[in-house]
Amino acid sequence: MAMYGVPPGITNPPSPLPAGADGEHPKTTGTLVLVFVFLAAFATYYFVNWKLLSLVWRIG
C-alpha cells in the first residue's frame, strides 16, 4: 500500500523474518562478487599511483 509522501519502508515495512531463521544464513554470493569488484578497483588504483610516483624525480 503506497502512500504519498511516506517511504515504502514505513507504509509497507519489511515482512517479519521467517521463524527459525537464526543460525545458518543463506549464501551471500552476490555481495561477495561485489566486494571482489571493489578490491580489484582498489588494487588497480593503488598500484597505478605507485607507477605514477615512480615517474617523478628522485627525491628523498
Binding site: L17, A21, W50, L53, V56, W57, I59, G60
Partner: protein, 190 residues
Amino acid sequence: MHTALEPPKGVWWKPAGRAEKLWVGIAFGWCLVLFAMMPLWHLKGEQNTTGIRRKVEPEAFQARTIEFIQQYQIGTEKGIPVVEPPPGSDVYLLARMWNWVPILKLQKGAEYTLHLSSMDLNHGFNLYPMNINLQVVPDYDYALRIVPGEAGDLRIVCNEFCGIGHHTMIGKLIVVDESAETVTYGGGER
C-alpha cells in the same frame, strides 16, 4: 536473525560464517600489502619524504639563503635573483608572501640538497609539471636530496593558502641538460 535496530538477546559473540571469515581474511591480507609497500619503497623506491628535518629561525634561514644567492648568482629575472649552484651542493629556496626566492638553475641528473622553509605562513611547494608536493612550514627546514630528471623551464606553485595574494605566488626553476638541447615545458619564456 534480527535487524540492527533490535537489541540482540543473550550471547551474541558467535562464530562468524564462512563468507564473513573469507572476506575479513582477504581484507586483512590486503591491509598487510598496503603496510608492506611503504617500507619496501624506502628500500627500493626512489621517491621518499624522509629528508633532513630540523628547526630553524626564519631570520637564520633567510640569512643562509642570501649568502647562498651571493655565492652563486648569475643574473636576475623579474627582480628575483637567478642562482646556479654546482651539482652536489646545498640549495636554498625561501617561501614568503608571495614569492619563491631565488630562481634555481639546476643540472639534469645531478643531485642537490634542496632546503625549504618559510619566512611567514605555511606555504605549499608544488613543482609543475612534475607534480611533486611538499609542505613548507615556518620555523622548520625541510632538506631533501633531489635529482632533476628532465630539463625544462619549470614552475613552483604555492598550494597552501597563504593570504589574499596566494594565487599570485609562483616561482621558477630551470633545469638544463648539459649534454643536450633544453626542452621547454609549459608556457616557456615570456
